[in-house]
């Protein structure tokens, strides 16, 4: 509804024009290998039920080459079909087992023919759908009352997931910023302890921990002290087994 008519899709490509550019346009219209094959069958005026496989394969490969020469990206599906065609062609050349009864001999082309027929049916159906959409686009309904104050979205199932993913991505970004901030705090914490040691010769580790605002900060203080010990900036002393640990500045040797 309320949709303008769309162009009639060109379901079967017309004859190739002579100029390179137009040739390019025509070639790029074959959306898949089945479209190209249907075009060739029609162009060669052969029966879809009895495809001269050698001739069609040759034509198909020629078009593929042309597409490559004209720099039209040839999708993998076209190459797969080329391989299939060559395979069928070889099978057709193989001598038939004389012991197999006639009605049990399977035509190597039958699967491809079935696929082409199916594809063609859907192309026909697509064409009818297109016509129906055009008809429908010519009809209009009463305008619906829109709620302009609250621009809203009607959700589909995939939008629900998309929204969920966006929320989770956003959260991840925030978490990353928080982690980044914590890393800075680690450097800051070391600098803080160092500057405290400038003014006093030793600091009580317990008092440091007691001033910590969070569990995370306590871990940070602990890691900072270890770092300072490792860097030979401070030494730790403990007068009693369960007594306070004193952080003292190590004298430069």
């Amino acid at each position: 509804m309320k949709q303008a008519p769309t162009e009639q899709p060109d379901l079967i490509a017309s004859e190739f024009a002579t100029s390179d550019d137009q040739y390019k346009v025509k070639l790029s219209m074959f959306e898949g290998p089945l479209d190209l094959l249907l075009y060739l069958i029609r162009k060669e005026e052969v029966s879809i039920y009895d495809i001269p496989i050698a001739r069609i394969t040759e034509q198909y490969l020629e078009h593929l080459r042309a597409m490559q020469e004209l720099d039209i990206g040839v999708a993998g599906e076209f190459l797969v079909m080329a391989a299939t065609l060559i395979h069928i062609k070889t099978q057709m050349l193989l001598p038939r087992d004389p012991d197999t009864p006639e009605d049990l001999v399977e035509d190597p082309r039958s699967e491809l023919v079935y696929q082409l027929l199916e594809h063609q049916k859907f192309k026909g159906a697509a064409n009818v759908l297109h016509q129906r959409a055009m008809m429908e686009a010519a009809t209009f309904t009463r305008p619906t009352d829109s709620d302009e104050e609250n621009p809203e979205v009607a959700a589909t199932l995939f939008q629900l997931f998309e929204v969920f993913k966006e929320v989770m991505d956003r959260r991840r970004a925030i978490t990353e910023i928080e982690i980044a901030r914590d890393e800075m705090t680690m450097a800051e914490k070391i600098a803080q302890i160092k500057s405290m040691l400038e003014t006093s010769t030793d600091i009580s580790a317990r008092s440091l921990f007691e001033r910590a605002g969070s569990r995370r900060e306590m871990v940070l203080i602990f890691l900072s002290i270890l770092e300072l010990v490792k860097e030979l900036v401070v030494r730790l002393t403990q007068s009693q087994t369960f007594g306070d640990i004193v952080i003292a500045k190590r004298e430069v040797a």
Binding site: K2, T6, E31, G32, Q120, A126, E136, L157
Partner: protein, 177 residues
């Protein structure tokens, strides 16, 4: 209520409904009236409404009823609404949609097999346009998502239900001519 009393009520409800409204929905709003009576009233109303030959048409769409303008006056309506043509569906999207419509529910790999080309971008377009919807996972290895057509699909293509799709076999002999 008599059938004749029901008809104008049904008409006003069809008019105000944003979506095609079904007999079942109508019955829900008209407590105490039998769905059979409502069906009769709706059928008669549709016949009478359309016999007028006015600019409007009462139609069966997506399992419900809806009033639309007649297509022959679209030129004037478009001129008035200055309606923007919505993006047209590409041939690839239309063909993919046809495969989904006839073979639903169907997975992406199955569509690939029929069409011979990958259709993911077409499927994404069709989902965005709400012409198809996800219909759960197929219970096979990898549990791929199944797709089918939506109510909007029926409305967009002017169908009452899927049985109104043209017979696929009718397109069989397109080429043998």
């Amino acid at each position: 209520m008599t059938i004749d009393e029901l008809k104008p009520i049904v008409e006003s409800l069809i008019y105000v409904s944003e979506e095609p409204i079904s007999v079942k929905q109508l019955a829900g709003l008209l407590e105490g009236e039998s769905p059979a009576d409502i069906q009769t009233a709706t059928d008669q109303l549709m016949e009478e409404f359309n016999a007028r030959g006015g600019g409007l048409e009462l139609r069966q769409l997506a399992g419900g009823y809806r009033i639309t303008t007649r297509p022959e006056f679209s030129e004037y309506v478009r001129r008035y609404l200055k309606s923007q043509p919505s993006a047209r569906l590409s041939l690839a999207a239309l063909e993919t949609l046809a495969v989904i419509a006839y073979k639903q529910p169907i997975t992406i790999p199955e569509i690939l097999e029929i069409r011979g080309v990958t259709s993911t971008s077409a499927i994404k377009t069709l989902l965005d346009r709400r012409l198809i919807v996800a219909k759960g996972h197929k219970q096979v290895v990898g549990r791929p998502m199944l797709y089918g057509t939506s109510k909007d699909f029926l409305i967009h293509f002017g169908l009452n239900d899927l049985s109104e799709l043209p017979n696929l076999e009718d397109f069989e002999d397109l080429m043998s001519s």
